[in-house]
Symmetry: C2
Amino acid sequence: MGRDNPRMHAPLKNDTFLRACLRQPTEYTPVWLMRQAGRYLPEYRATRAKAGSFMGLATNTDYATEVTLQPLERYPLDAAILFSDILTVPDAMGLGLSFANGEGPRFAHAVRDEAAVAKLDVPDMDKLRYVFDAVTSIRRALDGRVPLIGFSGSPWTLACYMVEGAGSDDYRLVKSMLYSRPDLMHRMLAINADAVAAYLNAQIDAGAQAVMIFDSWGGVLADGAFQAFSLAYTERVLQKVKTHHEGVRIPRIVFTKGGGLWLEEMAAIRPDVLGLDWTMNLGAARQRVGDQVALQGNLDPNVLFARADQIEAEVVRTLDSFGAPGHGHIFNLGHGISQHTPPESVSVLVETVHTHSRRIRSVV
Amino acid sequence: MGRDNPRMHAPLKNDTFLRACLRQPTEYTPVWLMRQAGRYLPEYRATRAKAGSFMGLATNTDYATEVTLQPLERYPLDAAILFSDILTVPDAMGLGLSFANGEGPRFAHAVRDEAAVAKLDVPDMDKLRYVFDAVTSIRRALDGRVPLIGFSGSPWTLACYMVEGAGSDDYRLVKSMLYSRPDLMHRMLAINADAVAAYLNAQIDAGAQAVMIFDSWGGVLADGAFQAFSLAYTERVLQKVKTHHEGVRIPRIVFTKGGGLWLEEMAAIRPDVLGLDWTMNLGAARQRVGDQVALQGNLDPNVLFARADQIEAEVVRTLDSFGAPGHGHIFNLGHGISQHTPPESVSVLVETVHTHSRRIRSVV
């Protein structure tokens, strides 16, 4: 064994990201991008073609390792993120995840009534062994270059897909269950939360050095419903996910797209980092949550379709909006990078983050 | 002529909605629903079948009048809203609006480059005569029962559809233009704003007693971009739309879906009413904007899929969240009603709003 023994892993050469997560001083603002290993990279598309399908890619340790490292070969990013999907947990519950070509995820067995909810349970983590194997393999391949982030969808976001069976533009089915059968919804969310916690803990055991919970659909909920059906279960996950592994702190990041109105409440469940989308001004967010959490974000991915000088200006504006000296800020997009992004735009972004954030620190 | 002469119109029997817009005391909280004349009503579907298509319905004065009044026959709603679409203005600019069956709107001629922007101009309002004729016809048919609301999409929301050519889930094309050619985007938005202002003024002349600007896609913009590319042009519209018609105040409502983070800035452009989606707590909104504006909203339309007692509880919670005595609140959904809504759910909603809001006022 020894797969979960940190002594097997090379010491970190760049821990800027981890220090920023814990609001410790850093020489510059670390940067990584949601979906940084993805279709905008020709080398990703080549590997994906070899793998045949998205799940073929995600379930093959060598391919998952290969694509996770691809963006690091091009750009001096400060973290790697496991190549996987937010919906692996309900797939392991037996719901049958697939990705139709050019479309989003789809479940063969949607969960729409009491009988279907009654069948749900925390899955055997052995069904997710391919994920933990990928984590260990990636961690080894990284050889201490940068830290590796593990992740999962939030309990609510998993429930959205589990009930809808696919993406949705009105969330009618899942919200109908929420409003008409809150008992069923709470039962499903409790199972999801326990499954997500077990899943993230196993990723940490396998080598993940930080974990992120993607509450991609928390922002579609009404005030009140968000707190009861999304935030409460993200909190349940945080309470069960380990804060340390072999004596080392494991930062926990919570990202609710469209959650800007609930920042204070999200900070109160005590993640280390809050991810923010582009609707939120970083300076205003900092005023609202003070020094309780680090902030991650929040450039609109569509900025990357502009000219280099325009990208630079927007990156500078984002860094400046957080304010000097910039400690406790992890630069990222406010959502996953678009598949249509010109790869050279990412070079401009990363370079500008590193250069300008050093400048901010030097003038303070 | 005489179509724009208020002396031709019957006096209002129910002005609760208009008084609430102006933050004057009312005996109860008025209620209307976005898209209240719509596919969830079997009588609407029957008229729509006769008309053949959505635009066939919207451009026929008799049909438009008929469907506008249908929900008022079923429910004691406190306002009527013109049956039309938010995209009639770019259609009149020559972009060719159509609605594919079961899909959203689509433009035959998307605006994607400098040449296409250069061709844009404020359209001849005569091309929108069918809308003004419908307004006058509906106003007459209402015979003073409740006030009639006119509306348009906001300059930014129109631009989204004009550039994308249809709905979008990432707004990549319109945001690419915004970030890479802000000059073109500003030119288009200025034309849109002047067109929307002329359009709303003509609706007011034709008989609209309040007007609403739907900034349906303002919430997809980044902080900073929202203010520069959406709010500034909504403000330009407000500056040009008449506040009075023949001595009578015409309340102006601005609704930005997903705009909760920018409430103070939206209040500062001085609409009479701000529409809110369900993510915003009405009490928190009231604290932030004080008595500058009335508030309209904000039940999640998916609540209407629950049981009657559950709908009642959510309506009560929404009314209570605004707080006693409830003056300056117009009850509405936080978005258009779903086509799948059981019509009897709307009865429960309207009845509960009227009953509970009288109760709130009586105990203060």
